[in-house]
C-alpha cells in the first residue's frame, strides 16, 4: 500500500464490487425489463403515456415535485403501511417505471405518495384547483401554490371550459378567468396517468380492489 499502482489497483477492485452490483447489474438486468401483454385490452403493461403526460414529466422534474413526493409503494411489513394508507393496491416493482423518462422514486414524504394518484384522485379539475391554491382544497396542506402554472385573462366571449371554479379570495375579478397553461395541463395529464394498480407477473393484484387490500 505504499506504491501508487498497488493502491490504485486495490481501490479499483474493491470499488468494482459495488459498481458491479449496483450499476452494471441494474443496467443489464432491470434496464432490460420488457412490458408484459395486457390480457384485458390486448395492449401492454405498464401502459404507454400519452403525449401530454410525457411532457408533464418534464414539468414534474422542473418544479422539483420529487422534493416532497415519493412514487413508490413499499412491501407491506409490520411498520410500512403504504397499502393500508390507500396509496396503492400492491407494492411497486422495477417494471412499473419502464415507461418513465426518470424514475421519480423520491426519498421524502412531506406530501403524499403519488404512485397511484391517477387512481386515487382522477378528477383533473380538482388537480387544477389544488395546484393553483393547495390549501383551498386541503386545509393545512404544506404544499406551495403553483399559481405560476396558470394565467388570469379577460374572458373573450364565452368563459373557457378549462377555467377554474375558484372560491373565496381566489375568485378573479369580474370578467376575468383563471386558466391552466400548457405546462399545468401536461403536469395534470401526467399525474392522472400515474397508476401502479395493474397486475404484473412479479406483482399480482388481488381481484377485490383497493378497499379490500387491507
Amino acid at each position: 500500500m505504499h506504491r501508487l499502482p498497488t493502491l490504485l489497483i486495490g481501490i479499483f477492485l474493491v470499488f468494482l464490487t459495488s459498481w458491479y452490483g449496483m450499476v452494471a447489474y441494474p443496467v443489464l438486468g432491470l434496464g432490460r425489463l420488457m412490458p408484459v401483454p395486457d390480457p384485458d385490452t390486448g395492449g401492454s403493461l405498464p401502459g404507454v403515456y400519452g403525449g401530454q403526460a410525457v411532457a408533464g414529466q418534464r414539468v414534474y422534474a422542473a418544479e422539483g415535485c420529487i422534493s416532497c413526493h415519493s412514487q413508490q409503494v413499499r412491501q407491506t411489513s409490520v411498520t410500512a403501511t403504504d397499502i393500508e394508507r390507500g396509496w396503492g393496491v400492491r407494492p411497486s416493482v422495477a417494471r412499473d417505471y419502464l415507461r418513465d423518462s426518470t424514475a421519480f422514486l423520491g426519498s421524502r414524504r412531506l406530501g403524499q405518495d403519488l404512485s397511484n394518484v391517477g387512481v386515487r384522485l382522477p378528477d383533473a379539475k380538482w388537480h387544477y384547483k389544488h395546484l393553483y391554491h393547495p390549501s383551498s382544497v386541503c386545509e393545512g396542506s404544506l404544499m406551495p401554490a403553483f399559481s405560476h402554472l396558470f394565467v388570469t385573462r379577460k374572458i373573450q366571449g364565452q368563459r373557457s371550459d378549462d377555467a377554474l371554479d375558484l372560491t373565496g379570495a381566489d375568485i378573479p375579478k369580474e370578467g376575468y378567468e383563471v386558466v391552466p397553461t400548457a405546462e399545468a395541463k401536461n403536469l395534470v395529464a401526467y399525474l392522472l396517468s400515474l397508476r401502479h394498480d395493474y397486475p404484473l407477473p412479479e406483482a399480482p393484484v388481488k381481484k377485490a380492489g383497493p378497499s379490500a387490500a387491507k
Binding site: L8, Q72, R74, A94, Y97, R109, G140, M143
Partner: protein, 481 residues
C-alpha cells in the same frame, strides 16, 4: 518565524521545506476555500428560507423560481458541490502537498500548475453557478442529487479531473517511501469521485438508462458520493492532523488498513439502504441492510485509530489549535452518530417507519454538515495561518463559528429525529389522516427554523472571518508580522 505549529510533515521536515510546499499550493487552496465558504453561506441562506417555507407555505409564494421544489435541490447541491466538494478539493491539495513533503512544482512548471488549477477552479464555480441558475429557471433534471443539467455536470467533472489529478500524481512524488494512512484516504477519495460522478451522470443524466434501472444507480450514487469521496478526504484530515496536534502516534495503526478497505468496500453498497422495501430485487434490499449495519466496522476502527490517540486532554488549549482540534473531534462524534443512525435505519422494521420522514433529512445533515464539514472546517482553520504566513484568524469569530455550528447542527439533528419519529409512528397508523400528521410536525418545523438560523449565522461568521483574514493581506503593506 511566527509559524503555526500544525505541520502534517514529519518532524524532521520543517523550515524552508514547508514554506516552499505551501507557496506551491497557496493560491489554488485559498481560491478553492474562499469560493467554498461563499457557497456555504448561500446554501445556508437557502436552507433557512426552506425551513421558513415549511412553517408558512405561502412565504415568497407565487414566484415560480422560489418554490420549495426548486430551492430544495439548489440548496442541497450547493452544500454538496459548492461547499463540501470544493472544500474537500482544497483540503486534499494542501494535505497531499504537505504529506508528500515536496512542492507540487517549481518555477515555470509551478506557474503553469497554479494557472491550470485556478482556471479549473473558475470552471468548477462557473458550473455551480450556471447549474444553480438552471434549476432556478426550471431546467433541473429531477434526479435527486444530480439536478444540474448535463452540460453543467460535464463542466464539473472536467474541472475535477484537472484539479484532482495533481493530488494523485503528487502521491507518487512523495519524499517518504512509506505512505501515511491519510494519503491512502486522499488517493481513494480523489480516484472515486470521477468514477462515481461520471458513471451516475452518464447513466442518469447524459444518456439515461431505462427508468426501471435508475433507482439502484441513484442510491449507489448518493451512498458513494458521501462515503467514497467526501468522507475519505474528511478522514484524511483527521488522520493527518489529529495525531500531530496531540503529539502522538495513531492508536493501533495496524487496524487502519482494515478500516480503509472495509470502508471502500461498503461505501457503495451502503447507498442501497435508501431503497429498502422499494421497487428493487430482494437481494438488493438485503445487501443494503447488511452494508448499513456493517459500516459500523470501519467507523469503529477509525474511531479507535483517532480518538484512541487522546486519552488525556492536556491539549485543550484555546485559540486556533483548540478550534481545529474541536472540529476534528466533533467530526468523529458526528461520524459515530451517523453510523449508528444509519445502522438503525437499515433495519427493515425501523426503515419501514422512518424512511421518508425527517429522520432521513437528519441523517443527510449529520453526514454533510457534521462528519464531512467539521473536519474540513478543521483543515481550513489549520491551513490558513501557514499559507498566509501569519496569525490571521480572529479568535472571537472562530470561537463563535465553532459554537454556533455545533449548537445549530446538534439542535437541528435532534429536532429532525424527534419530528421524524413522531410522523413515522403516526404514518404507520393508517387511521390517522395525512393532514393530521402534517400538523404534528409543525412545532418541530418552527424550532428547526431557529436551528437553521444558527447555522446561517455560523456560516456568515465564518465568511466574515475568512474575508477579514484574506483582505488583511491586501490592506497591509507588510503581510508578515
Amino acid at each position: 518565524m511566527s509559524h503555526h505549529p500544525i505541520s502534517p510533515c514529519h518532524d524532521e521536515d520543517h523550515g524552508a521545506g514547508i514554506h516552499a510546499i505551501d507557496a506551491s499550493v497557496r493560491l489554488p487552496v485559498l481560491v478553492l476555500f474562499g469560493n467554498a465558504v461563499h457557497w456555504l453561506v448561500v446554501a445556508s441562506l437557502l436552507a433557512f428560507v426552506l425551513s421558513v417555507k415549511l412553517i408558512a407555505p405561502g412565504f415568497l409564494g407565487g414566484i415560480s423560481f422560489l418554490t420549495y421544489g426548486r430551492l430544495a435541490p439548489m440548496a442541497r447541491d450547493l452544500f454538496l458541490y459548492g461547499w463540501a466538494s470544493q472544500a474537500a478539493l482544497a483540503a486534499g491539495i494542501w494535505l497531499m502537498a504537505r504529506l508528500c513533503g515536496r512542492p507540487v512544482a517549481r518555477g515555470l512548471a509551478g506557474t503553469l500548475h497554479t494557472t491550470l488549477l485556478i482556471g479549473s477552479t473558475v470552471l468548477w464555480n462557473l458550473a455551480i453557478l450556471l447549474g444553480t441558475l438552471a434549476i432556478f429557471a426550471g431546467y433541473g433534471t429531477g434526479t435527486e442529487w444530480l439536478e444540474y443539467p448535463g452540460w453543467a455536470s460535464a463542466m464539473l467533472l472536467l474541472s475535477f479531473l484537472l484539479i484532482g489529478i495533481w493530488a494523485v500524481l503528487q502521491f507518487d512524488r512523495r519524499v517518504d517511501a512509506r505512505a501515511e494512512v491519510a494519503q491512502w484516504f486522499l488517493v481513494a477519495g480523489f480516484c472515486c469521485f470521477p468514477w462515481v460522478y461520471g458513471t451516475a451522470n452518464l447513466l442518469l443524466v447524459w444518456k439515461p438508462v431505462q427508468a426501471s434501472a435508475q433507482g439502484p444507480i441513484q442510491s449507489w450514487y448518493c451512498g458513494s458520493l458521501l462515503v467514497l469521496w467526501l468522507l475519505p478526504v474528511a478522514l484524511a484530515a483527521g488522520y493527518a492532523l489529529l495525531p500531530r496536534l496531540l503529539g502522538r502516534h495513531l492508536n493501533r495503526r495496524n487496524l487502519a488498513a482494515l478500516g480503509f478497505w472495509t470502508l471502500l468496500f461498503l461505501g457503495g453498497w451502503n447507498g442501497m439502504e435508501r431503497l429498502i422495501g422499494g421497487p428493487i430485487p430482494a437481494w438488493m434490499t438485503a445487501a443494503g441492510v447488511v452494508a448499513g449495519v456493517l459500516l459500523l466496522v470501519p467507523i469503529t476502527i477509525i474511531v479507535i485509530n483517532l480518538l484512541g490517540t487522546s486519552p488525556d486532554s492536556k491539549m485543550t488549549e484555546v485559540g486556533e489549535q483548540g478550534v481545529v482540534l474541536a472540529f476534528l473531534k466533533n467530526g468523529l462524534y458526528a461520524l459515530i452518530v451517523a453510523g449508528l443512525l444509519g445502522a438503525l435505519c437499515a433495519l427493515p422494521g425501523v426503515s419501514g417507519t422512518l424512511r421518508f420522514t425527517a429522520v432521513s433529512d437528519a441523517r443527510f445533515q449529520i453526514w454533510i454538515l457534521g462528519a464531512i464539514s467539521f473536519p474540513l472546517f478543521g483543515v481550513l482553520y489549520a491551513c490558513l495561518p501557514p499559507l498566509l504566513g501569519r496569525d490571521c484568524w480572529c479568535r472571537t469569530l472562530s470561537a463563535r463559528h465553532l459554537w454556533l455550528t455545533f449548537s445549530g447542527l446538534w439542535l437541528l439533528v435532534s429536532l429532525m429525529i424527534l419530528g421524524g419519529l413522531f410522523t413515522g409512528l403516526a404514518l404507520s397508523d393508517p387511521t390517522v389522516s395525512f393532514l393530521n400528521i402534517t400538523s404534528y410536525s409543525y412545532p418541530f418545523h418552527v424550532l428547526e427554523c431557529a436551528a437553521q438560523l444558527l447555522l446561517l449565522a455560523a456560516a456568515v461568521i465564518l465568511g466574515l472571518n475568512l474575508s477579514r483574514a484574506l483582505a488583511w493581506d491586501y490592506l497591509t503593506k507588510n503581510p508578515r508580522k
